[in-house]
Symmetry: C2
Subunit: 203 residues, 2 copies
Amino acid sequence: MDIDALIEQRYSANHFDATRHVDDVTLTELLRLATLAPSAFNAQNRRFVVASSVKAKERLLRHANGQDKVVHAAATVVVVGRLAPHATLAAALQPSVDAGVIDADLQATLVHYADAMYRDQPQNQRDEAIRSASLSAMTLMLAAQGAGLVSCPMIGFDAAGVHREFGLGNDEIPVMLVAIGHAAAGNWPQKPRLPLADVLAWQ
Amino acid sequence: MDIDALIEQRYSANHFDATRHVDDVTLTELLRLATLAPSAFNAQNRRFVVASSVKAKERLLRHANGQDKVVHAAATVVVVGRLAPHATLAAALQPSVDAGVIDADLQATLVHYADAMYRDQPQNQRDEAIRSASLSAMTLMLAAQGAGLVSCPMIGFDAAGVHREFGLGNDEIPVMLVAIGHAAAGNWPQKPRLPLADVLAWQ
């Protein structure tokens, strides 16, 4: 199915078929695709905590405002944004150096620029964590749609509770939950959008 | 081409073919697809300022740290996040009510919840603006890839300058620039990522 059709057909599922599993190989491949989303400087300042066991999903549900799709979905992914991308940029770029895509001089230059942009600038760090995590989350949802699954992004959760429950680091924030699984009956279709003219300005 | 291949092949283009145009019908369709990305409450708290004229792209370049891909690309889209989503949620949901997807009672309930989440909570508003704009931006980039184009997300710009230059509202922030066009020679491939084991935790 082409990308246009996937984007058209994706909807935020409220009802998942709790009897249908998604195997770890499939989930891993979807998450691998999610890592291919871009991030500023290729800092890759996001990671993924996958609640796929019944126990983990129940732990997550405690902090998810009673949204039981967290447990009915085959897995619910905590998309985690990482603050302080400048501090880990050299490591994040090392695979690019090793592959000969960039050289060590450019790696150092990029770390220098990232340092100027994020060090001691908590709002910039938070903005970037949310941007990178969201770009990955969207890629994950479209990849899931392409695999015949449905998804639901959620922001209605207790961030401090999720942080504590899953042992996130001091430099990490949970940006979004993404439930993934097989659809059950009774879901809403994709909801209509405002007219394009309301949200589009040509210059 | 399937979604997996599009995600694999997408890269952040540094070099655009400045001689190749992308017509407005194509750009409009890509942006329509971008509006189908999800947003919390379906608030649609993002919009798109499309710099496609030479003049507009040059105005944008002044605030884009000399990144001339802004003008070499066929168009560079300012993806704008909107603060105060609770204030415009009723209007954003009206097409869903009109289409019979939700009823007016649910519309009012959702506005009530959004009000509790965002009113007088500027950090929540900013987080949501960045999330929604980023989800749309990723959808836009994958749609462009599906249309045989390339793209580049940019966060290296003067936000205050772009805000002023394009007359954004008090409740708006420029979240990202997305350049779209035809590739020129000399682009990097997609840069390697950290090993999956470094960014994936199973629970």
